[in-house]
Amino acid sequence: MANKLDKLNELHELLKSGAISQQEFESLKSEIINNENVTHNSPTPETKTPIQENVNKEKISLKPFSDNDGNLIKAPDIQYLNIKDISDAEIKILKPFIRQKQIYSPAEMTSDEIAIGNKIFSALEIAEMNSERPGFNYAFVSIFSVLCSGAALYFITISPCFIILGAGTGLIASLFISITTLNKVDATKLDRTFSYIALALGVIAIIVYINWGK
């Protein structure tokens, strides 16, 4: 406010001395008053409130989770984030947290964490972190391939009436599914183990068939 009065006095002195015309005085006066109003309403950077600081940022929800050993992993202390433009420092903090959560507790991922993760991780990185999960990513397919090869072995050893429809189709389906699963980048250890079991059962079924045919 004092600044404003000083400037107006200075301007009045200039008018008195004839350095500026009445018209110029009026326009400069209104400019000072208007400018002063703007600066009066918007605080200087030093006095910004947290809400004003985060005017371009959204409030995000990062929640803690427990890893496989039951240890509580705390969420990073970030409450506001511009998801469209995440800084390198923020990525450095967020990446390990989202990575661990996606591996150990994907069901508890918040929609903000998923949005941020999709922004900061590449498709290959996501596939690799999914492959580190302790459970299945292809549960149905993995179990189905084991059941198919088990059925093939059953039809060859116990019930040969269905040797073509049962054993043949079961074996082909099992081999196809397990090889496809093994080629997936995001297949977990369990997915791979089940696929190997299916392949092993399939090989046993083929060996039994060859020997039994003789």
Partner: protein, 136 residues
């Protein structure tokens, strides 16, 4: 590829496998019913290839007789039909009860699931070995 919440833990995976097994055993149980009511069935593919009857020939007719509780006729069609009928019935009952038990979170922990699945594999392998040894 994008991040997702989709994930099956060990208990849910076993539950899925269990349900798949229920469907398979129900299909095996219903197959003789369908063949008798719809007058539909497959002839022995082993006989078509090798010209001789195999160890499972007459099993469908045997299971049909078992469904009408005529076990002596069933054994005439195929000696192992009564055994397979009992295995199918017990497996259906066991798996449906297991599906209800696993709804309880107290039982559905990884250690219990590991024990149940080990027992499961042991039972199935034992039954197969018994079938092969006893019925030749």
């Amino acid at each position: 590829m994008k991040l997702s919440r989709t994930y099956l833990n060990i208990a849910e995976t076993y539950d899925l496998a269990n349900k798949l097994m229920v469907i398979i055993f129900l299909l095996v149980f219903l197959y003789p019913l369908f063949t008798s009511y719809l007058n539909f069935g497959f002839s022995c593919q082993h006989k078509l290839i090798y010209g001789t009857e195999c160890r499972s020939c007459g099993l469908t007719r045997g299971l049909q007789s078992c469904l009408s509780f005529d076990f002596s006729t069933a054994n005439k069609f195929n000696a192992q039909s009564t055994f397979i009928f009992i295995v199918i019935i017990s497996q259906i009952i066991f798996r449906i009860s297991l599906a209800f038990i696993l709804k309880n979170k107290y039982f559905a922990n990884p250690k219990n699931i590991f024990k149940i699945s080990s027992l499961d594999v042991f039972i199935i392998v034992s039954l197969l070995i018994f079938n092969l040894k006893y019925y030749g």
